[in-house]
Symmetry: C2
Amino acid sequence: MTHSAFHPTARTLMGPGPSDVNPRILEAMSRPTIGHLDPQFVGMMEEVKAMLQYAFQTENALTLPVSAPGSAGMETCFANLVEPGDKVVVCRNGVFGMRMTENVERRGGEAVVIDDAWGEAVDPDKLETTLKAHPDAKIVAFVHAETSTGVRSDAKTLVEIAHRHDCLAIVDAVTSLGGTELRVDDWGIDAIYSGTQKCLSCVPGLSPVSFGERAVDKIKSRDAKVQSWFLDLNLVMGYWGGGATRAYHHTAPINALYALHEALLLLEEEGLENAWRRHDLNHQALKAGLEAMGIRFVVDEAHRLPQLNAVWIPEGHDDAAIRSRLLNEFNLEIGAGLGDFAGKVWRIGLMGYASNPKNVISCLAALEAVGLKSAESAIAAAQAIYDNP
Amino acid sequence: MTHSAFHPTARTLMGPGPSDVNPRILEAMSRPTIGHLDPQFVGMMEEVKAMLQYAFQTENALTLPVSAPGSAGMETCFANLVEPGDKVVVCRNGVFGMRMTENVERRGGEAVVIDDAWGEAVDPDKLETTLKAHPDAKIVAFVHAETSTGVRSDAKTLVEIAHRHDCLAIVDAVTSLGGTELRVDDWGIDAIYSGTQKCLSCVPGLSPVSFGERAVDKIKSRDAKVQSWFLDLNLVMGYWGGGATRAYHHTAPINALYALHEALLLLEEEGLENAWRRHDLNHQALKAGLEAMGIRFVVDEAHRLPQLNAVWIPEGHDDAAIRSRLLNEFNLEIGAGLGDFAGKVWRIGLMGYASNPKNVISCLAALEAVGLKSAESAIAAAQAIYDNP
């Protein structure tokens, strides 16, 4: 059997991630590979750390990209912070909260799960009540931006409650970093992980993480070794934190880090708060257009993520057929529903480089072309937002 | 603080990896990112699996690239195959055998370690004796190509011994895949992991793995869940093995997989046995040149890896000063010694795309330029090998 080169047809990526990658990032990634101990590379690593601190709004020294996708970033937090027997309160309101529970239990921890309905934010009152009932809990974990439902939870309040009960807070920011207000230091987040392929518009494959002082203390004073050698931050710290004396741990994904460096440079150039505002503006325009089509949002307005628009599929329309037409006729990818939302919900992403007026307008046009009707013009409704932002 | 774009000075990578990346691979990697559930991408994944089967010389269905570097591939093997209490015999003759021991113990397994001296191959007789003394051992683990010392061990014989004692064999092939004879099915290897950044000449960041039927049976019949959610092959199988019905597990590193696809295509075009012969020929030429300079190899001829030439640093030469001059004046990276070999040994890689006559000749020339003398011409000695291969 012989194979041939893979030349994918380009798509517009408006699903739950990966999002469209800025061509500057693709070009950066194709620069010549150098050694992972080369002084040039070590200098670049330091810049990546500094720019990640900016993106996370933190001065945490232990801020770095894990050399694997977001799921490994999640695992880095749990594997390092949960010791066998630790009680962890997991706030679950979607797929990724469920995955957190798995992560606790596989470490020998005990998960106390608080459920909120899919499409709703994590309820702070339930967390308060649960922590009162479990005074021995050591960690609280929740998802800031639930990619499966499009919900933003109130991270600042949830962290405050966790701290009042002497718990560390682990926060999933895979979909929020770079797209929605997120302030690690101001909000006191102890451990956080994200991904590169969402609002940073970088290629998938790396997971930025950051750990505050109290989390680092817990990692350094563990009784049991971290179960994972690859993700053991006691070892990773010697590599990423070692400066000139850094110790070899694993071979870093050199070119993927070139890509992340360029993605963070783009964020620095735009300015973090400007990026948040841009995500919000494009969301408002898409929302105006979708509502003109009679499409309703899954999440109430106060808790919507601008970068991930979860909407109910209007009656009379076939989920798979429409997504397939969008992909094949318009090279446009929107996201399907996961779990309970399969077949009922679309997830339209406006993340990073993909969050722009051209994508908003052409997505509405494509939806109209495949049969979604609107009384007033959806495109005019969206454009009106841009004309009077 | 503001940053600027990172444009690395290109190097010639003749260390222990990463090796020089073929420009075709860098170009492939910069193609447009598409979704990880896009039918185009799913088709490409199937081709990657088929070409990895060719590279490993196996028909194992469970053959895929783990979405993280070689260390995570190692961890995938141990996390899935070792259950708490399992006794694992680890043959240790360098850095990576030591890391295997860590991997066993962190899974709650019991490691029985057999030591061979650095620079020597794993001794089959010691393995036989050890397995007789530990009839309850369930797994044997060893490194086929020790990157820290340049030694090739006799994988076929070691696997036979393991099987005779009813053990599964886990083999580290990070540095051998694509560079040295390796036949997973013929040799009966049960579980194997490699890296992309050595003899496949791809960018670092992925770890090809393959598991035979008996290993898959053990993974499916585990009592305890795999400690790692990210690396749990019971879940990964549903993604990579699911065909049209594949289940979402994590977001694959799309562009890194484009790169691996192209690297495997290059291997298919050249032919696996031709690639092995090329690595051997360039090693012979480098060896002739180095010996003309009076430089001696660490490993005896029968167990040398052609792709990783570990040599004693000649007396009177300063390790760091010479490597630094090679890097700064010639943009040539050669590898330092690790552990006990630090300051005493250089590791000169001839891996994948970097294994070519131009690199051999220019490396010898650069060594001469920074002060390594030879009675007869080292370059003429190397060229003589190419003239009469």
